[in-house]
Symmetry: C2
């Protein structure tokens, strides 16, 4: 039986998504909580393997559990077992939470649902959307939001960054924007790279079918060079065309990056989408 | 020479505004930074003496400095000395900051200006405005905002709270909503108590000429009892009329409370306003 988990987390207290021995990670913390509640070891599969410090509001994962472990959940008979699991996980994750005020969690399971046939959190996904927030003047600095906003002393030229972003859209080999891994393609389809000024902050919204490792932060880092006038508007496209990973690479800091949402096709398309994605991408490197 | 300082801070790392030996406080941290930059001991006066854990976006303080210390600031000749002081303070406060990502501060001096004649950050103020944020459903819980939002498992009845708040408006003796201090009046003018649902959160906006100690948190705590159906809509007004401070007092948690702004009269009215306020309030207890 496959369960879909919708997740949100504050990345500050985690060494990224992927489980690592001796380090607090989202995967490790969530797997421990599931094991505690279900009394069964589980293996998680996730849509976006976020890096250390990166947050999520709309992360999606799946986990396969024996129907017996799931049905055996103690709880009120008037509640769906998925809702009973969500509530039990909330309690365990609250106790496992780090920092922040009492009664709040840094990792939250927003919803638990039975996954439709063919659903794979990673390979069925059509697109991932990330946001990246920048405050480019002292009046926009807000100490209450400092955990997920980059503070820049220089005013950004948003129209120049927008023009520089345009030629990056579409399907390209993003080698210059990726930390490549052996045997993995760096071809991706960049579907949206929007930059807007909103409530005093500059917000980047970036969507692709998938991202290779550190791709969003390298795209944003390169555009910030344009926005502060250190590079020409043509430079990001020239980098793309050069297809080299060299000393010119600029990776923006992790803490202003948030995985906002993951899009999936209609239920009838889930299995076909997963087969197609698997054939193209063998890379183990969702994103950052 | 009197300087006005406009401040913002994340209250999580501070034991409130007021300096206390051996504890990190906003007043203590800011006074140390001013002493470092001006090479002169200073005494701060503040509009809102926030409690431990309470944040500020629009706090105002003043400080008297000898013109010599101020004029002697090293810096670029093309910059006003107030701007030179702001920049120097930013550097010192960044190094003194606690927690959070690199390059961000938990205490920020947004602006330094020469105060107009008769200005007193505390006694010239016409009004203080606080906000208090509550998430009353799992879908509204956002781990990225958990530092300044109260998480409640029960859905709040906003119209009921609005009706309960109405009779509290105006000038009253708020003894039931104050931690009283000797020789200090607990009469205050509550100018605004607005409760709205905004982007999934319930936001309280509370404005008064001044607040006595823990008054905002007691008002909010009492209204939350109404919003969750634990008390009648008449209860908060009955408490006000009873003028007693007893076991029924409900003080809401500190971390969702933020001092948003302080209002002052026109420059020509500053001194008169300060004289009038001084005569009425001898209380040393701005607010929380």
């Amino acid at each position: 039986m496959r369960l879909r988990l919708d997740l949100a987390y504050d990345g500050a207290g985690f060494h990224g998504w992927a489980a690592q021995p001796g380090l607090r990670t989202v995967e490790g913390t969530l797997a421990d909580a599931l094991t505690t509640v279900l009394r069964h070891e589980v293996q998680l599969t996730v849509a976006g393997r976020t890096d250390a410090g990166v947050h999520a509001r709309g992360q999606v994962a799946h986990v396969d559990v024996p129907a017996a472990a799931f049905a055996g959940l103690p709880g009120r008979s008037d509640r769906a077992p998925t809702e009973a699991l969500r509530t039990r996980l909330a309690g365990v994750l609250l106790r496992a939470s780090v920092g922040g005020p009492r009664g709040t969690s840094d990792l939250l399971v927003r919803a638990v649902s039975e996954a439709p046939d063919g659903f794979d959190a990673r390979f069925s996904a059509l697109a991932r959307t990330y946001s990246y927030l920048v405050a480019d003047s002292v009046t926009a600095y807000d100490p209450l939001q400092r955990g997920n906003v980059l503070w820049l002393p220089e005013r950004l030229d948003v129209p120049a960054m927008q023009r520089a972003a345009l030629p990056l859209l579409g399907e390209h080999d993003f080698l210059a924007y990726c930390k490549p891994r052996k045997g993995a393609t760096t071809v991706r389809e960049l579907q949206l790279l929007d930059i807007t000024r909103k409530a005093g902050l500059v917000e980047f919204t970036v969507r692709a079918d998938a991202f290779c490792h550190s791709m969003v932060r390298t795209l944003v880092g390169s555009l910030l060079r344009v926005g502060t006038g250190k590079r020409s508007e043509q430079w990001p496209a020239e980098r793309l065309a050069a297809r080299t990973r060299d000393g010119e690479v600029v990776v923006a800091p992790a803490h202003p990056l948030t995985l906002e949402r993951v899009d999936y096709p209609q239920d009838t398309e889930l299995a076909a989408r997963a087969r197609r994605t698997r054939a193209i991408r063998t890379c183990d490197c969702e994103p950052g």
